[in-house]
């Protein structure tokens, strides 16, 4: 984290120097005042009083200039630091593979990029403004006090460990209880959430009383601990004040004796009393740092975790020339003995998968939930790396191709359609940045999205809100297909995108895609047997293993799993469906 402060060292140094100067000028005020009293009043010298007064005013103005300038540097360096850190966080997370993003989770990554960074920014700001000032103030006051009177300084000094001990004892008691309080608050909020999400079930089952009782218990637990914390906290401030005041008392007592022995002047005593207040205040401020640091520590840790995570998927040192190894017969995609598991789990998601997709061929993958269909297609654009075996695209191991080159070849349509806020055209251009309006319209037409886009107020320039909430699920799906189509890729990947569409649209879409995809290979994850019956190769997955490869007819003969899936779907259908099914089948 320190690394990020480096570019700002000159500014921070300037700020610290300025704070130091501000501190000095501030501290000289009581000194001048004491001179004013001792020489001016006791020496009855009015001119001297004016002279000192003028000095004091000048010092005051200097203080303002110094602190304003210091403030300028701290604001700039803290904000700049945050900007740099945010940028690196964003860049890092952008470079992550899917695996790392999934490991962290999107929401925490957002919090870490935004909130945690500004948390640290605030702390740095506080550090530079208050925390740097306090030790300087502390030191400065102490030195000046020493200069005024050594023994009085020692009296004051002896109070510091007392105050430190007091703070330590009280906070040691409070902090574990604060943690407990946080836990119980979480518990209350969980209980509450459960009650809210289940309100209908709770009422239908007549369980309101139980739900209310659970909530009340959680509330009592919380109240009990917060009462404890607040009772303890009530002790903190008055106790602190008492100790500080005792220091003043001691200074007055010993100061009186010093005056009596002629070692101390009245003005100096008055100055020392003011220094005591300053010292005590800085002591409190310094202890404040100990409260700030753990807060920042949590954020620093959360950010470091992200920055220190190494992307598992990296570009090869010597990327292979993808087209060199390609001959006419090279399969577009080939899986050779591929096994895959998520690093933190024992269970293999894919086991020993081998198959090929010839150039221009369409292959379908079918299987129950959790059978590994999506994982399988995610290996092709190298979202994950295999554990054993290899995935080849145009005859080259995907790990030997630059990621951008590899993905350039692929038109990917994810299972859950995801659009970005922006116009429809902007979203389609994700596929091809320089796509003309015509190309976009063509892609929309292919994806059966042209009709509804035309109906929208601004056509392809209509705005999609964040998360695509202003278009329906089916529409989103079709737009995300158009985004892949506009790219005109060599390889299409459809991850179960057609089940959200009605049969007519589905059929039209497949028809249009067929002519659009001419020459390109495709791999389709499907749910419905009826829609893939005409595909030349169907891969049946069960628990991560291939349990059958072949055409529909072959699989019906020799693959039990396929037969079961087919039957379960067909049993619910009646003859009337045959017609629309034929439509769909005819297309593929």
């Amino acid at each position: 984290m320190i690394k990020y402060l480096r570019p700002y060292i000159p500014m921070i140094a300037a700020a610290i120097v300025l704070v130091f100067l501000q501190c000095l000028t501030q501290l000289m005020l009581p000194d001048l005042m004491s001179k004013m009293v001792d020489n001016g009043i006791i020496g009855r010298d009015i001119d001297y009083i004016y002279k000192m007064g003028a000095y004091m005013l000048i010092l005051t103005l200097f203080t303002m200039v110094f602190s304003t300038a210091a403030n300028y540097f701290t604001s700039k360096s803290a904000s700049g630091f945050a900007q740099d850190l945010r940028k690196d966080m964003f860049e890092k997370i952008n470079s992550f593979s899917i695996k790392e993003v999934e490991k962290f989770g999107t929401s925490t990554l957002v919090t870490r990029t935004a909130n945690d960074v500004s948390q640290i920014q605030t702390v740095i700001m506080m550090m530079l403004r208050v925390v740097v000032l306090s030790p300087l103030m502390f030191l400065g006051s102490f030195l000046l006090m020493l200069q005024k009177d050594v023994s009085l300084s020692l009296v004051v000094l002896s109070f510091l460990p007392l105050i430190g001990l007091f703070l330590y004892l009280v906070t040691r008691k409070i902090i574990p209880n604060i943690k407990k309080m946080q836990d119980r608050l979480d518990h209350l909020s969980r209980t509450l959430r459960e009650r809210l999400t289940g309100v209908r079930v709770i009422r239908a089952f007549n369980k309101e009383e139980t739900a209310d009782r659970r909530y009340k218990e959680a509330n009592e637990d919380l109240t009990e601990i917060s009462l404890k914390v607040n009772k303890l906290a009530a002790f903190l401030f008055p106790g602190m004040m008492f100790l500080m005041n005792m220091a003043t008392l001691a200074v007055l007592w010993f100061g009186g004796r010093q005056i009596e022995s002629g070692d101390l002047s009245i003005g100096n005593l008055m100055a020392v009393i003011q220094y005591v207040t300053m010292i005590m205040m800085s002591a409190v401020m310094i202890s404040f740092v100990f409260l700030l640091i753990p807060r920042a520590q949590v954020s620093v840790r959360r950010i470091s975790e992200v920055l220190e995570t190494k992307t598992t998927i990296r570009d090869p040192q010597n990327p292979a020339d993808t087209d060199a190894s390609q001959t006419k017969d090279t399969p577009a995609i080939e899986f050779k003995n591929v096994s895959f598991k998520y690093s933190d789990s024992e269970q293999e998601i894919l086991k020993n998968i081998s198959f090929t997709v010839a150039p221009g061929e369409t292959v379908a993958v079918i299987g129950g939930t959790g059978s590994g269909k999506t994982t399988l297609v995610h290996l092709i654009p190298r979202f994950y790396d295999v554990c054993c075996g290899a995935v080849y695209v145009n005859g080259t191991d995907v790990r030997r191709i630059l990621q951008t080159d590899l993905r350039q070849k692929i038109g990917f349509v994810p299972q859950t359609a995801l659009l970005f806020s922006g116009t429809i055209a902007e979203n389609i251009r994700y596929g091809k940045e320089e796509a003309t309006e015509e190309e976009i319209l063509k892609a929309l037409e292919t994806a059966q999205a042209l009709d509804f886009v035309k109906e929208m107020e601004n056509g392809i320039h209509s705005y999609i809100s964040q998360g695509g909430t202003n278009v329906s699920g089916g529409q989103k799906q079709r737009l995300s297909i158009a985004r892949a189509v506009v790219k005109r890729p060599e390889i299409y990947i459809f991850d179960d995108n057609f089940s959200a569409l009605d049969y007519k649209t589905d059929a039209n879409l497949r028809q249009a895609l067929k002519s659009e995809m001419r020459g390109a290979s495709a791999i389709i994850v499907a749910q419905r047997v009826s829609t893939i019956q005409n595909v030349s190769k169907i891969i049946v997955l069960k628990d991560g293993e291939i349990v059958g490869i072949g055409t529909d007819a072959q699989l019906r003969q020799n693959c039990g799993v396929y037969k079961k899936i087919a039957e379960s779907q067909e049993s619910t259908k009646t003859q009337e469906t045959a017609e629309s099914q034929e439509n769909a089948e005819a297309v593929l």
């Binding site: 004013m36 009293v37 006791i42 009083i49 000192m52 203080t63 303002m64 304003t68 403030n71 701290t74 803290a78 700049g80 945010r86 964003f90 997370i93 952008n94 993003v101 999107t106 957002v110 500004s118 403004r129 969980r190 959430r193 459960e194 809210l196 999400t197 309100v199 209908r200 079930v201 239908a204 089952f205 007549n206 509330n219 109240t223 009462l227 607040n230 009772k231 906290a233 009530a234 401030f237 008055p238 008392l249 007055l252 009186g256 022995s261 009245i266 008055m270 129950g368 654009p381 350039q408 692929i410 995801l418 970005f420 964040q466 329906s472 649209t505 749910q527 419905r528 619910t572 259908k573």
Partner: protein
């Protein structure tokens, strides 16, 4: 109730989220939300404090006393300085002779003042801690029990997040204010009053110098706030933009990768980041400037006091101790003022929070049950809708004159797209909502005359998004039928085809469903809720078909167990596939909240209306919504 269905009724806009300033340091410059009925809300909030008035009175007295003692201390110090000064001026050849007895008595007095001030401050805060926690706890309990009595409408028109923030953050705001704000307000006011009085007593002219500092700093502060406000606004906007952008890009990580858009995203990000930096440092700088300016004004005041004070001492109209006291007082003067201004802001947002809570407490409740309620002893499950009229909003009826007669054991299918109000009938049957006119009878008894508890006991429910709570599988199945034996629970699980997967779990029936219920699959949850319904053995079933979240094989199991469950019971099924609808005894076709057609399959096909068209068009799509909308378009064309 699942989220999707919930949206149907949420016509009210969601409330503004509570967003804390991202850069904590400058919060004092931002004015919080303003309450609408200030005095009314304050009065009502006071009612909660009333039971503790004795404690509060003691608190008030102690707070004032503690402040008074603290305020008096510098005066005593001044006296001490005078004693020293007298010693010096009366110095003889022998040396300085200070009146030790006077010093000791003054120091003792000072000690007593300090000790009592701290002691009282402690007791005062201790009392407030107790009062506050009791008040807050009571408030939470009151809001909590209100949750049980609220009409379901409230839940349908408010998001969970909104209700949570009422009960947690709003209550917490009040908590903080009571705990700290009130005490600070009292002590700060007392301090200012005390200091002013003493300063006036010491020297009216110097007091004027001190007080003159106030308007000057107030004006300067105002200028700074005005200048920095635009930057704060921009900073807030930029922060929100940055958050939104980052959220979107991270959520779309896969797409960004697949389409190689990393660079573009980086460029867009840097643009927002740069803008945030600009607004950030400027607003920080401007707000940071207030400190040195306040300090300077304060210092100028200090210097003037020193000069004028010294001149007064020379002129003999003031003694040196008084000057010393004055300097100490003038240093203490500004802090309580800034404190008061923070507390005033705090109180404003507290009253706004209290208002939110009171609004919720004032929400309409369910009509209480009739005292002499009818009981349905041996329910057969015959349901009659007799001229039922209902609307979620008073002037927008969704059901105008519904007449249905469902005999015991019959099945009713409800068909319609998302947002059509398919859950309306469920809502009415369970009396989650009250009908506006007409009657609903179960076994000839008007449901209004039954106790809600008894009425709801007649029903079993299986919802699309199954609700499970943080407890064991056993407890979850036995939800609603607490006296069930283990055997009965296992029998129900077996009937729901759930036994097999439960046996496989490490702890079997004692496996605890975790908070997000992520340790079992969607389909398994569904099965558990079916088991729950089997166990409760209801006369009437309310079912919501599973969606495509479940794989086909699990789906078959679920379908079969649902069919078994429906046997011999009256059932209302929200259908997501037309294939399941066909064999129902009665089909209700809904669109935009209204029943547009009703009858059995044969009758509806005969009528050749919307249903017939829907059935004939793109039958068996997995997604009824899309099909429905397509058909609707064609239906309108045909007309």
């Amino acid at each position: 109730m699942n989220k999707e269905e919930k949206k149907e009724f949420s016509s009210l806009p969601p409330s503004r989220p509570h967003r804390k300033g991202p850069m904590g340091g400058a919060e004092f410059l931002n004015v919080g939300e303003k309450p609408k009925h200030f005095s009314k809300t304050v009065k009502r909030l006071m009612n909660y404090l009333k039971p503790y008035r004795i404690g509060l009175l003691i608190f008030l007295i102690l707070a004032v006393l503690s402040t008074a003692f603290a305020v008096l201390a510098p005066l005593v110090i001044g006296e001490l300085v005078n004693v020293f000064f007298d010693g010096i001026t009366a110095a003889t050849e022998i040396g300085i002779k200070i009146d030790t007895r006077a010093v000791i008595s003054l120091l003792t007095l000072l000690f007593i003042l300090y000790a009592l001030s701290s002691l009282f401050a402690y007791i005062q805060q201790y009392i407030m801690a107790i009062v506050t926690q009791k008040v807050i706890s009571n408030l939470r309990v009151e809001v909590g029990s209100k949750l049980s009595r609220l009409q379901l409408k409230y839940y349908d028109t408010h998001t969970n997040g909104e209700i949570m923030s009422r009960i947690l953050s709003d209550v917490d705001t009040i908590n903080n204010t009571l705990q700290q704000g009130v005490g600070q307000l009292i002590t700060s006011t007392a301090t200012i009053a005390g200091i002013l009085a003493i300063m006036l007593y010491l020297n009216p002219l110097l007091t004027l110098v001190c007080v003159f500092v106030l308007p000057v700093s107030a004006v300067l502060m105002k200028v700074i706030v005005r200048k920095s406000q635009p930057y704060f606004n921009r900073m807030q906007k930029d922060t929100a933009d940055l958050n939104g952008f980052v959220e979107e890009i991270y959520a779309g990580h896969k797409i960004i990768k697949a389409f190689g858009r990393e660079k573009r995203a980086m460029n867009d990000f840097e643009e927002i980041n740069e803008s945030l930096y600009e607004a950030g440092w400027k607003s920080q700088f401007l707000s940071g400037i207030s400190m040195p300016i306040l300090f300077t004004v304060q210092n100028i005041g200090y210097v003037i006091i020193c000069i004028v004070g010294c001149l007064f001492v020379l002129a003999g109209s003031m003694n040196i101790g008084n000057v010393q006291s004055f300097i100490l007082y003038s240093r203490q003067f500004t802090q309580p003022l800034t404190q008061i201004s923070t507390v005033v802001n705090m109180i404003q947002s507290t009253i706004a929070s209290a208002e939110h809570i009171f609004e919720m407490l004032d929400e309409e409740e369910e009509i209480p049950d009739q005292k002499e309620a009818a009981i349905c002893l041996n329910p057969t499950g015959a349901v009659t809708f007799d001229h039922v009229m209902f609307g979620y909003e008073p002037d927008k009826p969704v059901i105008t004159d519904l007449n249905l007669k469902i005999s015991s054991g019959e099945s009713v299918a409800i068909v319609g797209p998302t947002g059509a109000g398919k859950t309306t009938l469920l809502n009415l049957l369970l009396r989650f909502y009250e009908i506006d006119d007409g009657r609903i009878l179960i076994d000839g008894i008007d449901i209004k005359e039954m106790k809600r508890k008894d009425l709801r006991g007649l029903f079993g429910m299986v919802l699309q998004t199954p609700w499970l709570f943080n407890g064991t599988i056993k407890e979850n199945i036995a939800y609603g039928s607490e006296n069930a034996t283990d055997e009965e629970i296992i029998r129900a699980a077996k009937a729901a085809y759930a036994d097999a997967f439960i046996q496989k779990l490490p702890n079997g029936y004692d496996t605890v469903i975790n908070e997000e219920a992520s340790n079992i699959s969607e389909g398994q949850k569904q099965m558990l809720t079916i088991a729950r319904a089997f166990l409760s053995d209801p006369a009437i079933l309310l079912l919501d078909e599973a969606t495509s979240n479940v794989d086909t094989l699990t789906e078959v199991c679920i379908k079969e167990s649902m069919a078994k469950l429906m046997k011999g019971r009256t059932s209302f099924v929200i259908a997501h596939r037309l294939s399941t609808v066909k064999n129902s005894d009665l089909i209700l076709v809904l669109n935009k909240g209204k029943i547009i057609e009703q009858g059995n399959h044969a009758e509806l096909m005969e009528a050749d209306g919307f249903y017939a068209m829907l059935y004939n068009s793109q039958f068996s799509s997995d997604n009824l919504d899309e099909t429905f909308h397509q058909t609707e378009k064609e239906f309108l064309k045909r007309k």
